[in-house]
C-alpha cells in the first residue's frame, strides 16, 4: 500500500517537474520569438527589406508581409517624390530658359543707351534698363528658391578649413560692400570643420549679403570664428538696422520679410536656405540682434563627421 502511495507521489512530482520544465522552455522560446519579431519590426520601421526563406514557418510568412508593407510605403513615397521632381525640374527649366533672353534684353538696352538718342528715347531706354535689372534680380531669386526645395540641396560634407569658406564667401559680397564703403573684417583662424564647401559658402554668402544690405554706409562687418569642442561657430556681426525680437525666429521662415525692409529687394529666401544647409550637415543657426545697434548671426558647423 505504502509503496503505491510513494510511487504515485513520485510520479506526480515527476509530472509537476516536467510540466514546470516545459513551461519554462516554452516561455523562453516565446520570448526569443518576440525578441526576434521586435528586431524585425525595428528593421521594417527603418525601411529595410529583409531576407526571407520560403518555407512553411510562420516566421517566413510574417517577414514576407512585413516586406510588403515596407515596399508599399516605399512605393507611395517614390510616387510623391517623382511628382515633386517633375514640378521642380519644370520650375528650374523655366527660370533658366528665361534668364538668357533677360540677359540679352539687358545687353541690348545698354547698347541702346549708348546710342545718340533724343531725350524722350533716352528716358525710355533708361526705363527698359531698370525694369530688366529688376526682372533679372527676380529670376536669380527664383533660381535660388528652387534650390531651397529640400531635395535640391544635396550636401556632401568633407573635412575642410573654415578659412577657405570665409574667403570665398567674402569675395561674393566684396563688390556690394565696396559700393557702400563697408569694411569687411576677417578674423584669422586655422580651424577645420566638416562641411559641404559649395553650399556652406553659398549660405554664408547669403548671411554676408544681408549684413551688407542692411548696414549703413561706412560701417563695419566682422566675420569671426569661435571653436568649440564639437562645433565651430562662424560669427557675422554687423552694425546695421537690427531685427526686432519677435521677428528673430521668423526671419528663418521661407518667404518671410520684415515690413521694416520692404524698401530693399529680396524674397525671404537667403536665411531660410542658410538654415537648411547648416542643419543638413549637423549644424545650426542662431541670431542675436538689437534694433538700431546691429545683428550677430552665428552659424555652427560640426567639427567631426556625423
Amino acid at each position: 500500500m505504502d509503496r503505491y502511495i510513494v510511487l504515485v507521489a513520485v510520479i506526480l512530482v515527476g509530472c509537476v517537474v516536467v510540466c514546470l520544465f516545459l513551461k519554462r522552455y516554452y516561455q523562453k522560446r516565446m520570448e526569443a520569438v518576440y525578441q526576434a519579431m521586435l528586431q524585425k519590426l525595428d528593421k521594417a520601421i527603418g525601411g529595410e527589406v529583409q531576407d526571407t526563406v520560403y518555407d512553411e514557418s510562420m516566421e517566413a510568412a510574417v517577414v514576407e508581409r512585413l516586406n510588403r508593407v515596407v515596399q508599399i510605403s516605399g512605393m507611395n513615397q517614390g510616387k510623391a517624390e517623382q511628382e515633386r521632381d517633375i514640378i521642380k525640374s519644370l520650375i528650374s527649366d523655366i527660370s533658366h530658359q528665361v534668364r538668357t533672353p533677360v540677359t540679352n534684353i539687358m545687353l541690348y538696352a545698354g547698347l541702346l543707351q549708348e546710342q545718340d538718342l533724343d531725350s524722350d528715347s533716352m528716358r525710355l531706354a533708361d526705363k527698359i534698363q531698370k525694369q530688366s535689372d529688376k526682372l533679372d534680380f527676380f529670376m536669380k531669386e527664383l533660381v535660388k528658391s528652387s534650390y531651397a526645395e529640400q531635395e535640391m540641396i544635396s550636401i556632401h560634407p568633407e573635412k575642410i578649413s573654415v578659412e577657405e569658406i570665409l574667403n570665398t564667401a567674402c569675395q561674393m559680397v566684396e563688390l556690394a560692400a565696396v559700393k557702400k564703403k563697408i569694411n569687411i573684417v576677417l578674423e584669422e583662424s586655422g580651424t577645420l570643420c566638416f562641411a559641404d564647401k559649395k553650399w556652406t559658402t553659398e549660405a554664408l554668402g547669403n548671411v554676408l549679403d544681408n549684413a551688407v544690405k542692411y548696414s549703413p554706409e561706412n560701417s563695419k562687418v566682422t566675420v569671426g570664428v569661435i571653436p568649440y569642442e564639437s562645433f565651430v561657430c562662424i560669427q557675422v556681426k554687423d552694425q546695421g538696422i537690427g531685427i526686432r525680437e519677435e521677428e528673430q525666429g521668423m526671419v528663418f521662415e521661407r518667404f518671410y520679410r520684415s515690413k521694416d525692409v520692404s524698401g530693399e529687394p529680396g524674397f525671404g529666401i537667403g536665411l531660410y536656405l542658410a538654415r537648411e544647409v547648416f542643419s543638413k550637415q549637423g549644424g545650426y543657426v542662431k541670431i542675436k540682434s538689437e534694433i538700431g545697434k546691429g545683428t550677430i548671426v552665428q552659424l555652427y558647423l560640426s567639427c567631426y563627421e556625423v
Binding site: E229, S230, S279, G282, Y304, V306
Partner: protein, 231 residues
Amino acid sequence: MNILTTQNLKKQYDMGEIQVKALDGINLFVREGEFLAIVGTSGSGKSTLLHMLGGLDVPTSGKVVVDGKDISKMTKDELTIFRRRKIGFVFQNYNLLPLMNVYENIVLPIKLDGIRPDRDYVEQIITLLGLKEKKYAMPDQLSGGQQQRVALARALATKPAIILADEPTGNLDSRTSQDVLGLMKTTGQRFGQTIVMITHNDEIAQMAGRIIRLEDGKICGGENRYAESEE
C-alpha cells in the same frame, strides 16, 4: 499634432497651515518635433512642471496627456515602463552611475527593458556626441561637458519620442553649455524628437524654437500659440 498637453494642471503642497501652489492651472501644448524652453526663476514651478510631464510626480488635479494617453491614470508599473520607452531625461547633475563605464551607462536603459541594444544605433549616437575615444572611460575621468554628453547619449539610447531636460547646462560654463545645447538641438533634429527644456537663463532659452515663461505656477508669457489651434 500635439504630442504633449496638460489640462488645468495643479499641484499643491500643504505646509502645515499654509497651502503652497506650485502649479496653478497650467495649459501647455507641445508640438511633435519642436524644441521648447520653459523659463522661470527658481520657485516658479518649472521643475515641478517638468516632473509632471515625465510622470515623476503626481498632480493634485488636472491631466497630462502624452501621445494621446492620460498618464495620470496609469498605474505605477505602467508609468515606469512608459517613462523608459517614451521619455529620455537629462538632469543638471548628470546622474551617471559611477561604477559603470561610458558605454555601459549609455546602454543601461535599453538593458533594463530586456532588449539587446541595437549596436549600430548606439555607435551612431556615440559618434554624434563625440564620445568615441571615451567609450570605456569611467564617469569620474570625464569633464562636466563630457559627462552631460554621456547623459544625453543615455537619454537618446531608447529612441524616446520626448526628451525632458532639467537645467541641462546648470553646472557647465557658458562655452561648454553652447556645445551641449548645440548637440541636443542637432540630435533632436536628426531623430525627430520633441525637446522640452527648463532653464532660468534667457540666453540658453534662445536656442529653443519657442519659449514659455512661468511665474508663480502660471504661464505668464511667451508663445503658447498652439493653444487654440487644436481641440
